[in-house]
Symmetry: C2
Subunit: 204 residues, 2 copies
């Protein structure tokens, strides 16, 4: 009876197409929740506290971290980021399905801290294709692209940690596979009404 | 590396729509294999030994059974039926996906004997609707229908044994859910090429 909502953890190397897949999920599953992270970086123009992030000081963040407030946290480019644990657990308890869009290290922390979740890894079809995609985006200089590729290799090597593997070669197929995983997981008995069997049997 | 092909076990009370779902799977997944059972009953007109069943004597059947030849077996209306174990394991080893269409007791034997498989239970939306469907078929007398309903209740009570639950209210939706389960299961790392990670990383 622990599970009510479904917790989905999606990880992928930069350029594997995770953001596109997530925006399709948002379109088709409007009830899916995305956890709001805490961060110590300053808000960018247009970002709203409590909607995009919870913006906190470093002292505040470290205090929260030391009180096991986060399901996962990381320091990226001198700033801290963290996913609050209780907010997620409360939403799951209410039957809401939640998606975490985090890296492999974050995924490992979530599994260790929450002891639940469906862990999905998105592969690019090949490193060559990943490089192509990163170059086409025209957002990174060659050095950054090389770094992203190096990180991608490290992340892909840890894919064995995940429950499901999707190769994002053709977006439509990858998305259809992602939807199938979510549909299938929700068909497990732990996500169905507790009294389902009694309801079906009694109805004579 | 034990898993290569996927073993799917489908159980449902009589009248829940399992046969229709299976015929749709046969249409859409022509590579799916169905295990050929052994039986001690006589062939009916048109039935072919080695295609529909392996027809054997009772002595032969009991010998096979005592040699742990079957993944599951049962005695139904004075005749024995059994699913051969090695044939299934060899097919899985070759990467073939196989479906077992068996009752709850058979499903339990399969889990105990093969220690693998994805176990799916199909519910009717309600007992009332199940009765309607059985009456509409016009193949059973009222007494047989009552017996089927009694058996259905016993089977539904054991649904907790299964990995996935599908409620066959609308056929189209139930079938879509069944397909999602098969697609999702095949995305688990154990069903994907062993060298997938190496292939993706090396391709620079």
């Amino acid at each position: 009876m622990a599970n009510k909502g479904l917790l989905i953890i999606l990880s992928a190397p930069s350029g594997a197409g995770k953001s596109t897949l997530i925006s399709l999920l948002k379109r088709d599953f409007p009830s899916l929740e995305f956890s709001i992270s805490y961060t110590t970086r300053k808000p960018r123009p247009g970002e709203v506290h409590g909607r995009d992030y919870f913006f906190v000081s470093e002292t505040e963040f470290l205090q929260l971290r030391d009180n096991a407030f986060f399901a996962e946290w990381a320091k990226v480019h001198a700033h801290y980021y963290g996913t609050p644990k209780n907010q997620v657990l409360e939403s799951l308890q209410k039957g809401k399905d939640i998606i975490f869009d985090i890296d492999v290290q974050g995924a490992k922390q979530v599994r260790a801290n929450l002891k639940k979740g469906v862990f999905i890894f998105i592969f690019p079809p090949s490193l060559k294709e990943l490089k192509n995609r990163l170059q086409k985006r025209q957002t990174d200089d060659p050095q950054t692209i090389e770094l992203r590729l190096k990180n991608a290799i490290e992340e892909i090597k840890e894919a064995h940690f995940f429950d499901y593997w999707i190769i994002n070669d053709k977006l439509e197929q990858a998305y259809s596979q992602l939807k199938s995983i979510i549909i299938a997981e929700k068909l497990k008995p732990c996500y169905q009404p507790e009294n389902l069997i009694e309801e079906i049997i009694k109805d004579e």
